[in-house]
């Protein structure tokens, strides 16, 4: 009986460390794609920060707009100076929650509802994501679309054929247990 209690206690503690804990991704990847008639533009940010709390079903992400890497320097310059205005709005953020609790087994599709803030404008958004657990780490990936106009980003008419009206955003985060000090 005592052994059983001990076992239950150990199991409880183990579950406690898995579920009562936050997870962090410091090098999450966010890529956006703009497919337009004149040119395709792709930019990657490999240093996106995200924190995941399974207890509260909460998720938050933050990224530096200047850390997006483009194939051409000129694209980087236009993006930061003319469109996103990184000096005024250096970060894009997301705050949301998982609509369902997480099961322990295998890859699973989840929906996240939350608010994304880009260029000082906040929009509600629902994102479909795949979450997978390997050992004590979680991988979360997915994609969604954003409409450029929604975020008060002004594209001069002369360049309207160079930049897509709707931009595809892909993300991939690898979370590890977060030891808060």
């Amino acid at each position: 009986m005592n052994k059983l209690r001990l076992l239950l206690l150990l199991l409880f503690l183990k579950l406690g460390t898995v579920f009562g804990q936050q997870f962090i991704a410091r090098q999450g990847q966010v890529t956006f794609f703009s497919y337009a008639t004149v040119e395709d533009i792709e930019a990657k940010n490999n240093q996106v920060l995200s924190i995941l709390d399974f207890d509260k079903k909460e998720i938050a992400a933050s990224m530096l707009m200047r850390a997006f890497v483009f194939k051409k320097n000129l694209m980087h310059e236009h993006f930061n100076e003319s469109y996103i205005e990184s000096d005024l709005y250096p970060k894009a953020t997301f705050e949301g929650f998982l609509l369902e609790g997480l099961e322990n087994a295998g890859p699973q599709v989840q929906f996240i509802k939350g608010k994304v803030t880009i260029h000082g404008i906040t929009k509600e958004i629902e994102i479909k994501t795949t979450i997978q657990k390997t050992n004590d780490r979680y991988t979360m990936s997915g994609e969604f679309n954003l409409t450029v106009k929604d975020f008060n980003i002004k594209i001069p008419p002369i360049l309207s054929n160079n930049i897509a009206k709707v931009v595809l955003v892909k993300f991939n985060f690898q979370y590890e247990p977060y030891e808060n000090e």
Binding site: Q47, L49, L64, K91
Partner: protein
């Protein structure tokens, strides 16, 4: 007719020069960092403290600038097909340094806790200070 022809040739020449110049500038931009004298040389702890104390002031001071950070290696990661060196500080935040493609070979010889100098462009702070286009300064490694 001949005049018109040479005018066209002249235009082409100017256009070519502009293009080549643009191309050279665009290409050399990255390698310039390696040759550039850093605007600031700071320890990992100092720069993190500056960002956590007053992010705005630190942003004005460091963002877009080529800087050199001195610190001990916490870990080297290969996430997202990139080589990233994370420098440790006395908190659980660090300095994330995304290594320039031309310096990837050097990364393999690095060891945990090794003291190194890394030069790169500061992009700002989230929970860690972020540096892109980083070069490892070997000459300074054993200070």
């Amino acid at each position: 007719m001949i005049k018109k022809h040479s005018f066209f040739k002249g235009c082409m020449l100017v256009f070519s020069i502009v293009c080549i110049n643009y191309f050279i500038v665009a290409c050399s931009n990255q390698n310039n960092i390696k040759e550039t004298v850093p605007k600031y040389i700071v320890s990992a702890d100092t720069i993190l403290l500056e960002f956590t104390t007053n992010e705005e002031t630190a942003n004005t001071k460091y963002i877009h600038k080529v800087i050199e950070v001195v610190g001990k290696i916490k870990e080297v990661t290969s996430l997202n097909n990139r080589k990233t060196i994370i420098l440790q500080t006395n908190t659980n935040s660090g300095i994330i340094c995304d290594v320039n493609d031309s310096d990837l070979k050097l990364v393999n010889d690095l060891k945990k806790n090794q003291l190194i100098h890394i030069k790169g462009i500061c992009k700002g702070y989230l929970k860690d200070v972020i540096l892109l286009n980083c070069f490892i300064d070997i000459t300074n490694q054993h200070e």
